[in-house]
Symmetry: C2
Subunit: 499 residues, 2 copies
Amino acid sequence: AKSAKPNIIFMLMDDMGWGDLGINGEPSMETTNLDQMAKEGMLFTDFYSANPLCSPSRAAMLTGRLPIRNGFYTSNYHGHNGYTPQNIVGGIPDNELLISELLQNAGYTNKLIGKWHLGHQQQYLPLKHGFHEWFGSPNCHFGPYDDKTTPNIPVYNNTEMAGRWYYEEFTIEEHKYFSNMTQYYIEEALEFIERMSSEEKPFFLYWAPDATHSPVYSSAMFKGASRRGPYGDAVMELDYGVGKIINLLKSLGLDQNTLVFFSSDNGAAMIGSAFENGSNGPFLCGKQTTFEGGIREPTIAWGPGFVKPGQVSQQVGSLMDWFTTALHLANIPVPDDRFIDGMNLLPVLSGDNSFDRPIFHYRGNTLFAVRYGMHKAHYWTWTNSWEEYNKGITFCRGEYIANVTTHEQVNRTLDPVVFQLGRDPGEKYSMKSSLSEYKEVVANMKTIVNKHLETLKPGTPQFDWCDDAVMNWAPNGCEKLNKCLPKPKSNLQKCVWPH
Amino acid sequence: AKSAKPNIIFMLMDDMGWGDLGINGEPSMETTNLDQMAKEGMLFTDFYSANPLCSPSRAAMLTGRLPIRNGFYTSNYHGHNGYTPQNIVGGIPDNELLISELLQNAGYTNKLIGKWHLGHQQQYLPLKHGFHEWFGSPNCHFGPYDDKTTPNIPVYNNTEMAGRWYYEEFTIEEHKYFSNMTQYYIEEALEFIERMSSEEKPFFLYWAPDATHSPVYSSAMFKGASRRGPYGDAVMELDYGVGKIINLLKSLGLDQNTLVFFSSDNGAAMIGSAFENGSNGPFLCGKQTTFEGGIREPTIAWGPGFVKPGQVSQQVGSLMDWFTTALHLANIPVPDDRFIDGMNLLPVLSGDNSFDRPIFHYRGNTLFAVRYGMHKAHYWTWTNSWEEYNKGITFCRGEYIANVTTHEQVNRTLDPVVFQLGRDPGEKYSMKSSLSEYKEVVANMKTIVNKHLETLKPGTPQFDWCDDAVMNWAPNGCEKLNKCLPKPKSNLQKCVWPH
Ligand SMILES: [Ca+2]
Ligand SMILES: [Ca+2]
């Protein structure tokens, strides 16, 4: 049954690319439920994550603030990505306000299902930050894990671990792309929504499955279902889950009172094999980069009570807007004691409104690029280092644009690389600096950047310090399961971030 | 009103890419009429042109036969593209049977609107080959034209020229991307359909506008309409025309008795500027190449009497199938005195049927690649020569796949480059030859190729000889308009084909 306040669902995929939806031109067109969701709701063509990597993207989404503000970056290097592997000491700072905390204060019941990635030490976990319930893992399910140099990551059920992931209770059979985890995540979502409905409680569900992050996986039901291979199988299972959730909302009569957002935390990864990688459609490069392939996300808003159906919106949007939009929907004041980057999308969702706004694309501690209107200006170009590239690591597989996909960090602040993304979504034709269009864009962008830098108070960097002693050796509840592992001696070191 | 026999419409765009339709993921999503046509009909995701260049692609479509069979290739070089510029001596051989000729014999009234490109000498023109009516040009509207070394190309109205194109009666303002030509092509189509309907005659309309071929153009009505620039404006005007034609069919009650195909003659060109180029979506390279970007086409079948609505078909198809399908639709026997490559798509259009078949991708006189099932094997790799590439000519802008996008013609017959196009539509991950999947595919493809080569009787090459004297100096009807130009002395030479 319907609660007095509108319900909010964030569906956030992991490493899924813009081009992975049928509605966005994936040639196999296997995402029938997502395509239907887009037809019933609003498809966003120009929607961005705040960062091309999981942890900072998610922290930004939940705080409505850029990683440079909320601390999800490193100052160890110039313009290098960081995230929250198991040896990270940092996590989401206590003085950040998460959407879950603000909704909790307003009487919402909040559940996270899936990956957290805002820090795995006890003080950083979801139930310390506004979530009432959690089923999922604090880290990436990306090995190697051996329980000796690196513990298998825990799966939590609320405050205690329910087992270990990857090789143990929650299995991924390596190189077989098999796991039941997405099914558990779907079941958890359906159970939570049904329970909230019967209790007539307003809820916030943050559904964050990770089956499309390497190593990709799907359950037996979807094995071989896709002509795209294991990655496609994973997408189809997630698509199935989306369909189940939407249909449940309809059958419970919650559809008029629930706003659902769907997106991905960053672009598809280009490193790795064809079996594990998604598609960034026509966009340049992928995860790790500030080219469109790293940050342009497949995004849908759904909810007939709040979203005009059957629309395609070219509003330039950001995952950080979900924070601000959710606050407006729940009639909660937006915090005014700090800079909030997210904008309120409710007027966009309800009709033909749109607004101009810049999007700032950082890599680590450095502003790499800005999008405003149809233009994008790159102030720094970099894919990865020659050293990594020569080892076979690539974030731009098969793509090479001279002076753009560089393997050195090139400072273009004085002569930015400019693309017009309407006629050149693939960032292939950098604009000639002799054009008057170029000069106007660069001048306008300069004003925008200067204004941005004036507001900028960088947060304390959370990705500077690493220590093997902080890994998930002995998560809460490990005693009951006899899953505690011996903790090594503390060895605090500056984290190494090669990218 | 409805005729006894079903009407047939081929809508063939020029150099439009797979990724140019909103429904195929063009991020600006500006093709609302085509997207609607796809929703009401069948969208083909895996549909190919028979060649990555205009003339041979069109000749193959109209004859149902590969260019190597119908003569639309050159033997002057190994594996070089050719087409029908103004100095070409050849054209469609008299012994080829065109769909227009077969439909004419069966009582259809046939009209070509737009570009012909099957030879411009009098014996090759449309009204000599089964068309009753023609409004359009025999050649590309691609200069330079000066009426001295090269005549401006004529626009024909049936058997006589109505003016000259490009700088004269039918203007394209160069670098301004302006022309009314698409509006004329739309009006011609609407007039023809209305007339056929009122006369209750079965008709075949071949609608072949060329606004998306460089130099792209649109009329004042669409100037600046697209956020994609002049190319997008051209697409929007064509999309508008498609909508007008479909709506007219509906309002005349012809929709149940007409089959409409929409596609493009080859992939989007990668050479040139962002203002003039289309999108090949996630596919590799473009026009001129046998990579997916050169040959995978945006394709829709529409017609509620023959096409199951709201379908996406992954049937591997070819423009040559339009020939065979149209014959079946009109209940005309398929010629059995020659090899026909086109297959009958009617069972696919009517429901969930599909069939296996190989697609042979030639470049000039050489079999470069074969697609069968989900796999594609490249026997030769080549984009363009180093000489051309070093001049700045590129058919793979921004793309580089080692040992694949080569600038030498590399013979891979003994160790083909294999891609699985489901998990790797972008041809970025060539399959390891140690995989059993590779070995199976290569063995299977070998059988398919050998069988193909057994059936192959190459036609007389039409692109071997060029002569400036055969240009459009004095087309039929030039006297009436005072538009005859002095013809130079004959100078028969082997044509030069750098690509
Ligand atoms: Ca991610
Ligand atoms: Ca063409």
